[in-house]
């Protein structure tokens, strides 16, 4: 178990280092000289000597691998540098400001998705080929085929424009969260419903279910005590491994609804070429995915003794 864990941590660290390295290289090919970006192109007359001085001050004249090591070292100490577009504002500050919005959004979206998907997924599997099953199939097929940004626009049209119940954009009050939460939840719901249904269908014909039935337990008891509890593990794992997809969804949904979370910070920074922020966020994303996947693995191994013993 501990050997397996060490292996996974080392591999995860490798993935993060690899992604940070690739990001660093990609960001250096990005169009636009950072010195000009910093000064605002053409606004201030400067001589070549001054540019060279600025390059030297920021370490831009040093070889690339040295620049990378300095940057990676700073990241490791938690120093993300300062924004190029909002001069003097530390990137770390910008990220910490945005995280609560993204965390709130995704927390409620996941709660909503789980609360709907798991009961319906179980019902669809137990009553196979019934109306519930058919409806859940249609909903999950549609949920997977619907782009989240279009769903977002349609919800804005209905709930903000015609019914006037909710604000269309922004986060002036907590109501601003409702539509974005629904959009992210819908996408996850579609996937979770499929997974839950599949997991229950795989369990139903198994021996321990037949045993539970034959010892006289009611259908309800068989379902809750034996089937549902065994369904939770694959479902939790899927949620854990979907963190990269969830982040993708957040980036788009926050942009559509103009929510000040890390997704929108990311898109804005890319469009404004603020690559200090972009490269820090890329590493934060990678770190987040790797850590969540690692935790999911650990939970899985901890709960399921078959994995613990075989590794």
């Amino acid at each position: 178990m501990s050997g397996y864990l060490t292996f996974r941590i080392i591999k995860g660290a490798f993935v993060v280092v690899l992604i940070s390295l690739l990001t660093f290289v990609v960001m250096r090919i990005m169009p636009g000289d950072p010195v000009y970006l910093l000064l605002g192109e053409g606004q201030i007359p400067i001589s070549d000597a001054q540019i060279a001085a600025i390059r030297a001050k920021w370490g831009l004249d040093r070889p690339l691998h040295e620049q990378y090591l300095v940057w990676a070292g700073n990241l490791f100490r938690g120093d993300f540098g300062t924004s190029l577009i909002r001069p003097g504002v530390p990137v770390r500050h910008m990220i910490f400001e945005a995280i609560p919005v993204t965390a709130t959004l995704n927390f409620y979206a996941l709660v909503l998705a789980i609360a709907v998907a798991i009961p319906f997924g179980i019902a669809a599997a137990v009553r196979r080929n019934s109306i519930v099953d058919y409806a859940s199939n249609v909903v999950s097929a549609l949920g997977i085929a619907t782009p989240n940004f279009w769903l977002a626009l349609m919800l804005i049209v209905v709930f903000a424009l015609y019914l006037r119940w909710l604000p269309p954009f922004g986060l002036r009050s907590w109501q601003g969260y409702i539509l974005p939460v629904i959009v992210i939840a819908t996408e996850e719901m579609a996937v979770l419903m499929r997974i839950t249904r599949g997991a229950v269908l795989e369990l139903l014909p198994q021996d321990f279910v037949r045993t539970a039935r034959s010892k006289g337990l009611s259908e309800r008891a068989v379902l809750y005590r034996h089937v549902v509890s065994n369904t939770m593990l694959p479902v939790i794992t899927v949620i854990g491994f979907r963190v990269a997809f969830i982040l993708s969804g957040t980036i788009i949904v926050e942009t559509v609804f103009a929510l000040p979370g890390i997704g929108r910070l990311f898109v804005d920074s890319v469009l404004r070429l603020d690559y200090q922020v972009v490269q820090s966020l890329v590493v934060v994303f990678a770190l987040l995915v790797v850590v969540v996947n690692l935790l999911t693995d650990m939970v899985y191994a901890f709960v399921d003794p078959r994995i613990r013993i075989s590794t």
């Binding site: 591999k11 490798f14 993935v15 690899l18 992604i19 690739l22 990001t23 990609v26 960001m27 090919i29 990005m30 169009p31 097929a141 549609l142 997977i144 085929a145 619907t146 782009p147 940004f149 279009w150 769903l151 626009l153 349609m154 804005i156 049209v157 903000a160 424009l161 269309p168 996937v191 899927v238 491994f241 979907r242 990269a244 997809f245 982040l247 993708s248 980036i251 788009i252 942009t255 559509v256 990311f266 898109v267 890319v270 469009l271 070429l273 972009v278 966020l281 890329v282 994303f285 990678a286 995915v289 790797v290 996947n293």
Partner: protein
């Protein structure tokens, strides 16, 4: 000595030995009504893309109707006008081209990369496998949209950029499946036989290994086209995909977002087209999976 069909040698070999015959697979696909409906819709979409110039009632960019800015649907203009007084129906019809071009070309690029990387990793094993697997893991561990946004911004948004960056980033899943299949194929007798005959590694991979993973790749590819079309429209929606004034569904949706409170009808139809297209490709994919792979070897690929 006669060998009974229940002989363990036969039963254990049955799992991986005879592939379903082509006729049976076609029969199974045709019997699947959803898959057949998907196929019909996709064929219609292709016709629409090819003959866009003939079908569209107006030019998507050049026909500007003065005084019709943001006017809603009517009989002559069933989808209404956009914020630049252009006919939306014509723009949506032309948008089919972009969606299908990106869906197909990006799929081809990602399939080729995926097969090459997966076959190399699975066939050679060792440190080659370690390095390539790490790359696959890194790619799959990262939010795809974030990667596409950065790459599109670095390379400058255009149709070519969109095709290339999507193709270059979605191959990890193919590579993972191909790698696993090649690893088990490598141990099979016909590969050993080819090696014993002195065949070179690349020849064994090309002649004996690649043809055997194609079924899984085709099934996975048909399931991925829909996802690629959504990625393309997401990039165009963010202004990092195909450049305006080229008509793309994502691009029209981006106009729709900008004018959502004044001209809400702009945002409706391109989204409907995306949903129909993605559903059609997904149904074909499900049908192909059930037809080519009735035992569900590839079934678990789709998360």
């Amino acid at each position: 000595m006669s060998i009974a069909p229940t002989d363990p040698v036969f039963t254990s070999a049955r799992d991986d030995a005879p592939r379903p015959s082509r006729n049976k697979a076609i029969a199974r696909f045709v019997a699947n009504r959803m898959a057949l409906a998907g196929l019909v819709v996709v064929l219609l979409l292709f016709l629409m893309a090819i003959f866009a110039a003939q079908i569209a009632p107006h030019h998507p960019n050049n026909d500007i109707f003065r005084g019709m800015r943001g006017v809603g649907p009517s009989v002559e203009h069933p989808m209404g006008f956009d914020h630049l007084s252009r006919d939306l129906l014509s723009r949506v019809i032309y948008g089919t081209r972009t969606a299908l071009i990106v869906g197909l070309l990006s799929s081809i690029i990602s399939v080729v990369i995926g097969i090459i990387v997966g076959a190399l990793a699975g066939y050679f094993g060792g440190w080659i496998d370690e390095v390539l697997s790490l790359l696959i893991d890194a790619l799959m561990a990262f939010p795809l949209i974030a990667l596409l946004i950065v790459l599109a911004a670095v390379l400058g948004p255009s149709l070519t950029t969109t095709v290339v960056v999507i193709g270059a980033t979605v191959w990890a899943r193919y590579a993972r499946v191909v790698r696993a299949e090649v690893m088990s194929l490598r141990e099979r007798d016909f590969v050993t036989a080819a090696r014993a005959l002195g065949a070179l590694d690349w020849r064994i991979i090309w002649k004996h290994v690649v043809p055997n993973v194609l079924t899984s790749v085709i099934v996975l590819a048909s399931l991925q086209v829909g996802a690629i079309i959504i990625l393309e429209s997401a990039l165009s929606f963010l202004g990092l995909g195909v450049r305006p004034p080229t008509a793309t569904w994502g691009g029209i949706l981006s106009d729709g977002r900008a004018f959502i409170l004044r001209y809400p009808h702009i945002a409706i139809f391109p989204g409907v087209m995306i949903v129909i297209t993605v559903l059609a490709f997904n149904f074909i994919g499900d049908g192909l999976r059930d037809a080519l792979d009735p035992h569900g070897r590839v079934a678990k690929m789709r998360k």
